[in-house]
Point group: C2
Chain length 149, copies 2
């Protein structure tokens, strides 16, 4: 085979391999943020249930869920670190997250603050509805702008 053609084919193969790696990394990043947000909801739902008297209030459970929710919220910035614009699989994340990262980070900061307050007060049944409401609003504030409706 002519050297230039060999080189060209080699390069094409290398680029294709890099592209597969990039796709796998993107897929992994998408799965990661979906996992974090799934577990945020998994821990937030029982707190909403208790706050609305749909399930009996249990101080210990409330504190465990609120502590886990907070730990998970701290993982959200890392989970959104990778810019996945152009990803063609299923995702609810809008491109505007990476087009306007400062605004995203500000909303995320608010949600993390709300999770700190919720963690601190989840052991107090009277405080719970207000704290859960504030957490829900801060989640919604981010979803409104940065997530598919």
């Amino acid at each position: 085979m002519k050297p230039l053609l060999t080189l060209a084919l080699g390069l094409t193969t290398a680029i294709a391999s890099l592209s597969v790696v990039a796709d796998e990394e993107t897929e992994y990043a998408v799965e990661t943020r979906q996992a974090v947000l799934h577990l945020v909801r998994w821990n937030f739902s029982p707190l909403v249930g208790m706050a609305r008297d749909k399930v009996p209030y249990d101080a210990e459970k409330a504190q465990t869920h609120a502590a886990r929710l907070h730990e998970l919220m701290l993982m959200v910035p890392d989970a959104f670190a990778m810019d996945t614009r152009g990803y063609e699989g299923e995702t609810e994340a809008l491109d505007v997250i990476w087009e306007n990262k400062d605004a995203f980070n500000e909303k995320l900061h608010n949600a993390i603050q709300a999770s700190i307050a919720l963690k601190a007060g989840a052991g107090d049944q009277e405080q719970l509805p207000k704290l859960v409401g504030a957490m829900g609003s801060s989640c919604g504030g981010c979803h409104d702008d940065f997530r598919v409706d």
Copy 2:
């Protein structure tokens, strides 16, 4: 319509609705445990990288990953609380988990203990390979028996 037929149809509809709810709950439980284990791996991988000198050791990062890994390990028992035997979707969890829950819980307990040791020692580069090795072995010990090969 004859009352008995109406009753029978009503019951059938009710049972079908219950079945849909049960399916959704099972699906949610499967997604939840997959999310927990995805995030366990997400935090363990960089620790493995540092332990093997594939990525530069960074004490702060190592401690953060180890602390998160431990928090996530504490969620594993809850994530496996629901018996999902008979689930027809994609899962690597074997039925033996719920057939022999004590053995599963024992392996899980070992893995949680390993995560405590890893969290305590991740800030010490010299200790890291041994602690990561022990964590990996305890993960593997559970996967060998309870996860699809």
